[in-house]
């Protein structure tokens, strides 16, 4: 335990800004999770691994000498097809089944992804240098990498674009109809199979964008996918399905929590704190719901 952060107000500002910028990125991943959960009713444990794969795609183009920021355009395109193929191979067989089956099946996919990434990209921690420099605030006492600002900006941009796409386009309408009632949508001529595949592809593309942004702001490693899954799951259960502003706010809240936990508990407990928060949120939710149930009785 280290309470230095409460003695130095500048550290507090630093942690808050870091947390909010990071939280926007988490919210983008959570948005994808909410989309597929709402439409297809599956929980994708491999979400975080899709993010990391997207990051590695950006890292690869960085190794080829292209600026990694282009990853936010190239990575989602490739990831869309990865998601599509994944849907055709496995996910379409678990859509209508018990949720636990989808959890276990995607857990298996996550293991395969981790290991393949380990083979292809190696087990080292890597980062793509964006060379955007840093912004100094408050007499140089708060440092803010420009890449983080860039990533938050891009996340917001993509989220808004997706919301507009969902509202206006034909596919977006079909997706929303399927989410409301898959059977009725089918009767009215929506090809739900195609909608599901597209939804999963869009989710994977969102993961690709987030991954590309993570490759320039944070670090990549084949085995760090699961914390991203858990973070997005947490954001979705706090915010609820299909409530976009709430997703953004709870994403930022999670980012803040993490940065403060980092300062107070120490970096070695950071991931542990995230998982513990998940357990606490679920338990809190359970007591809240059980009170409601008793009230109904």
């Amino acid at each position: 335990m280290d309470f230095l952060i409460f003695k130095a107000p500048m550290l507090m500002v630093q942690a808050s800004l870091d947390g909010i910028l990071l939280g926007i990125l988490f919210a983008l991943i959570a948005y994808g999770m909410a989309l597929q959960w709402g439409v297809m009713n599956i929980i994708n444990i491999a979400q975080g691994d899709l993010v990391i794969l997207g990051g590695y795609i950006a890292y690869t183009i960085y190794l080829w000498g292209i600026h990694p920021a282009w990853g936010v355009i190239i990575s989602p395109i490739i990831m869309f097809f990865v998601g599509w193929v994944l849907y055709k191979l496995v996910i379409n067989k678990v859509v209508d089944r018990d949720l636990f089956i989808s959890i276990l099946a995607t857990f298996g996919i996550a293991i395969v992804f981790q290991q393949l990434m380990n083979f292809i990209f190696g087990a080292d921690v890597v980062v793509a240098q964006s060379e955007y420099g840093t912004t100094m605030l408050f007499d140089n006492s708060v440092t803010l990498p420009n890449s983080k600002i860039f990533s938050a900006f891009i996340s917001v941009l993509y989220a808004i674009a997706l919301v507009i796409y969902m509202r206006k386009s034909k596919l977006g309408r079909a997706i929303r109809a399927t989410a409301q009632n898959a059977r009725a949508a089918k009767i009215l001529g929506v090809d739900t199979e195609k909608v599901y595949a597209a939804t999963f592809g869009i989710n994977a593309a969102l993961c690709g964008i987030a991954g590309a942004l993570i490759s320039i702001t944070l670090t990549l490693h084949p085995y760090v996918g699961l914390p991203y899954t858990v973070r997005s799951f947490m954001i979705v259960i706090v915010a609820g399905l299909g409530n976009l502003p709430a997703v953004a706010v709870s994403g930022m809240g999670l980012g803040l929590f993490e940065e403060f936990a980092d300062y107070i508990l120490g970096t070695e407990f950071r991931i542990g704190a995230v998982f513990l928060l998940l357990v606490l949120i679920l338990v809190y939710r359970r007591f809240k719901l059980s009170r409601k149930r008793e009230y109904l009785k």
């Binding site: 496995v90 089956i101 293991i111 858990v230 120490g266 070695e268 998982f275 998940l278």
Partner: protein, 354 residues
């Protein structure tokens, strides 16, 4: 009925004799046999939880890892300062005598059975109120959080791991260590099997099944579901803790995320084995674990490096195509063998309906 019992008796005594003779027959595979026993215990206790009660957990690894750390800590802490032991190579300065070693592991195993069960009881009320996938994700989080937190605690070795006391050097017989751990795990297996079999014949199992099939209705029938769920979880935790304690002694080295709270391996294995054999049957997990172990050991060396890819693919294939498992498949095929009476008329009507 009488005849069937005799058949059972022959089967069980045959298996026990085979189990007792195994370390002498397959002397080179003692460690593998010990693993097999522990895997069967884990699969059976998971089945009690996931198969009978319908609460699919990824969190039994929590009790397994807890048991591992507790056994080792008690074994060291009873005689030597624990902090100095874990700091750097304490096992070289402090040496357990033979009596100390066995006393330590005995008390350690006792603690590692009771404490996880008590913890399961304590957190049970909060955690078991969650339903379905929320429970699954919550227990997944618990297991990983435990691993991450254990990796940050200095007194149990933190990130650099914890070396369990080496087997006493005074025992000259080189086979003794393997035999000791094998018989320990075999005793645990027999104990677990008797316990689970007892549960299968009791009212407790019917209650667990009622909870699995429809918890709200079970509650409406006047069953205090929460009480039984907690007891069921405590039973799982008890045996998982013991299994972990034995495994820690056998491996000789405890790492927070790779050995103890190993959600990526053990935590998935136990679910997979139970599903492979068939959830909700007595023999399913036993057969599933045995098959899985043979498959794993046979294949692991052949496809070195690719084993996790194979594991992931295996999970997907089993879960997507064989969610009922081996016993479920057999049951579908030979229902009369399982004591199910089929109404031909009803079956035909069902087929026509389809």
């Amino acid at each position: 009925m009488e005849k069937l019992k005799q058949k059972d008796l022959i089967l069980y005594s045959g298996l026990i004799i085979l189990g007792l003779a195994a370390p002498y027959l397959f002397s080179a595979f003692k460690v593998q046999l010990t693993y097999l026993c522990v895997l069967i215990v884990l699969a059976m206790t998971w089945n009690l939880q996931g198969g009978e009660m319908g609460y699919n957990t990824f969190g039994n690894i929590l009790f397994y890892g807890l048991g591992m750390y507790l056994t080792a800590s008690v074994q060291v802490g009873m005689f030597f300062p624990l902090a100095e032991w874990t700091e750097s190579g304490g096992e070289k300065t402090f040496v357990h005598t033979t009596a100390q070693y066995f006393q330590g592991i005995g008390v350690g195993l006792l603690v590692s059975a009771i404490v996880p069960a008590v913890i399961a009881g304590a957190i049970g009320y909060a955690i078991l109120g969650l339903r379905g996938h929320y429970f699954a994700i919550c227990t997944l989080g618990l297991g990983i959080a435990a691993g991450e937190i254990a990796g940050g605690i200095e007194i149990i070795g933190a990130g650099q791991g914890f070396t369990t006391p080496p087997f006493p050097a005074e025992i000259v017989d080189t086979e003794a260590r393997g035999k000791f751990f094998y018989f320990l795990s075999f005793a645990l297996l027999v104990g677990t099997f008797i316990f689970v079999k007892y549960i299968y014949g009791s009212r407790f199992r019917l209650i667990l099944n009622a909870i699995r099939d429809n918890e709200d209705k079970a509650e409406a029938m006047g069953i205090q579901t929460m009480k039984y769920k907690i007891v069921g979880w405590m039973c799982s935790a008890f045996f998982c803790g013991l299994a972990g304690g034995i495994m820690g002694g056998l491996i000789g080295y405890i790492d927070s995320t790779d050995v103890a709270f190993d959600g990526r391996e053990m935590g998935v294995f136990m679910v997979l084995m139970a599903i492979l054999g068939g959830k909700g049957t007595l023999w399913g997990p036993v057969i599933g674990a045995t098959l899985f172990h043979f498959f794993k050991e046979g294949l692991w060396t052949l496809i070195l490096g690719w084993q996790y890819v194979a594991l992931g693919v295996l999970i997907v294939v089993i879960v997507v195509y064989f969610p009922e498992g081996l016993m479920g498949w057999l049951r579908e095929k030979y229902p009369e063998r399982f004591g199910e009476v089929i109404d031909e008329k009803d079956r035909k009507a069902q087929v026509e309906l389809k």
